[in-house]
């Protein structure tokens, strides 16, 4: 089956994509780009999947922090355990909004909790915890499992890019190893093409198996000017297509160009309160850049015929958790991995 942009309306965003793809693939055209140089990068939170009312990674972390507070009374009066214990999403979300506005004070408090929550476990154990989370956890208000919270039009775009000889990477501020176990199912992106933030890792060899354990410190936070650094480190090329949705994506988009070649830079704008959410907070500067530099703004409301793929919402139990694991099939009818 030929992949197509069926979830995109016949508007300017779809037109910009189609024109760009035609130019770079036209064999003798002035904008032709050899397949090896057709590199695309996608932010994840708010670009490929829903990030409101909180990023899925934050919910995963909250569940872990809540577990810790359940076992340790003293933690319940300290952030971020207090917020997790009382379910105070406001404090947690504000920490991220503050970060996008240049104030990292609460983010530092949050990250201290996160690093304590996952320090000293092996990379394989973390993988299993993440996979378990996606088997059992659901979005708190959209009435669908987190693993059905990827944007259908973006999954389509990824398949269209595959068919046009592109290699697509996720380049996210989120935790690299949190996205890896599900990126192939959601987006058709294998683990080696997931770039993101990371805790430090320590190698430990003993009598048994050689292990890699997370350290209770961040190795790096892959956002803002760090994004082009991590993209170069991993790929060794500049992208020619990049998609983001917030101020932290500006350097990634600005870096995505080759001399004499077409480039497509896109910003997903969350203006769809009915089907998803409506917010520009943390994206003001990026939208301003888009306006001044001719980057393509994708309006969720106007440019997408649908936000999420079928199957439609599933019945959820109390607390937004899925009622039973057996209700969630491991094989979605929509297989996004062309």
């Amino acid at each position: 089956m030929v992949a197509a942009l069926g979830s995109w309306t016949e508007g300017s965003a779809r037109g910009a994509i189609e024109e760009f793809l035609a130019r770079v693939t036209e064999p003798n055209g002035s904008g032709h780009v050899e397949p090896a140089a057709r590199v695309a990068v996608f932010d994840n939170d708010g670009t490929l999947w829903c990030e409101k009312p909180m990023q899925p990674q934050l919910d995963f972390t909250i569940q872990r922090l809540r577990e810790m507070a359940d076992h340790d009374v003293e933690l319940r009066t300290r952030q971020p355990w207090q917020a997790a214990h009382t379910g105070d999403l406001t404090w947690l979300n504000e920490a991220l909004i503050k970060h996008y506005r240049g104030d990292d004070s609460d983010l530092a408090v949050l990250m201290d909790g996160v690093t304590r929550a996952f320090g000293e476990i092996s990379v394989e154990e973390y993988q299993q915890r993440v996979s378990g989370f996606f088997r059992t956890s659901a979005h708190p208000s959209l009435a669908r499992p987190y693993r059905d919270c990827g944007y259908a039009p973006m999954a389509e775009l990824l398949r269209v890019l595959d068919e046009h000889g592109f290699t697509s990477y996720i380049a996210s501020g989120g935790d690299r190893d949190f996205m890896r176990p599900v990126a192939r199912t959601l987006y058709g992106v294998p683990p080696e093409r997931v770039i993101g933030s990371s805790l430090g890792l320590t190698y430990r060899a003993g009598a048994g198996r050689a292990e890699l354990l997370y350290e209770p410190t961040m190795d790096f936070f892959d956002d803002g000017p760090e994004k082009p650094v991590r993209i170069w480190s991993r790929i060794g090329r500049r992208p020619i297509l990049s998609v983001g949705n917030s101020n932290g994506d500006i350097p990634m988009l600005a870096f995505s160009e080759l001399p004499g070649a077409p480039a497509l830079r896109m910003l997903v704008r969350h203006d769809d309160a009915q089907r998803e959410f409506d917010y520009d907070a943390g994206a003001e500067e990026a939208l301003d850049h888009a306006d001044r530099n001719g980057w393509t703004v994708v309006s969720m409301r106007n440019d997408w015929t649908r936000v999420f793929a079928d199957p439609a919402a599933k019945l959820l139990g109390p607390m937004g958790r899925l009622p039973r694991e057996s209700d969630v099939s491991d094989n979605d009818s929509r297989d996004t991995c062309g």
Copy 2:
């Protein structure tokens, strides 16, 4: 054409490779490994190409340090510029040997020079300098350009792995961005599959093009216990095949195994004074590990019918430099990129 191990003698090393490949690819066999998990990692210096009397990267660096000393008299009495200026390979090589033995004092002095030599230039400018080096520079004693100093049996192995559904990465202590411009020509390995050490990088956006510049500090040195860390960071999987040649490769080899799956760990032993070099310095502990853990030791003298591919040695001018750029074709008759 089906790739084959024609440069490998019918010995135990070739047998171990063939048995391993048969096991992991046998569709219903107990050792079957799905293609996505067929990940192979190769050290570079002394494993894929010649590292004596010095690593090609060191020669590249010496040329740059010599340039600096030519312009600044004061540098000529300080290491590493003094060694570069007087052509004192002993000091430089000893710095690396000491490192492999756990003494990093001279390596620190060398790295300080290296970081000063390449700080503040853009990633693209560095690429051009490296490409220029490989167009014009030759091995000091083997009478062949550096770009013909890759081991033919290893290039064959990489092609055989391609045909068996493997994805192969370079995982080297050498500078990542030094290997990238030539890894495809020498080994058929694209830049996104080159893992190695790196200087720090800084993003700079101004009125013109957004740039990435090297910082005058190391970001990390990808050797020893850092190798598994970098492999995981980049790939998100454990390898099942790994090849090295020195003590710094021990953690990488130990990390290369999946539960219940076959694993092949190999060490290239330099015991061929006639065709290449004969040395175990810096590999003593690794050879001991191989002996105790059943890792496969590849004897260059006994296991390889040839070390380097044709075309044979080219006539060199004074100082081991190629007489004219036009004497070196960009298109080798042997194209290793299947």
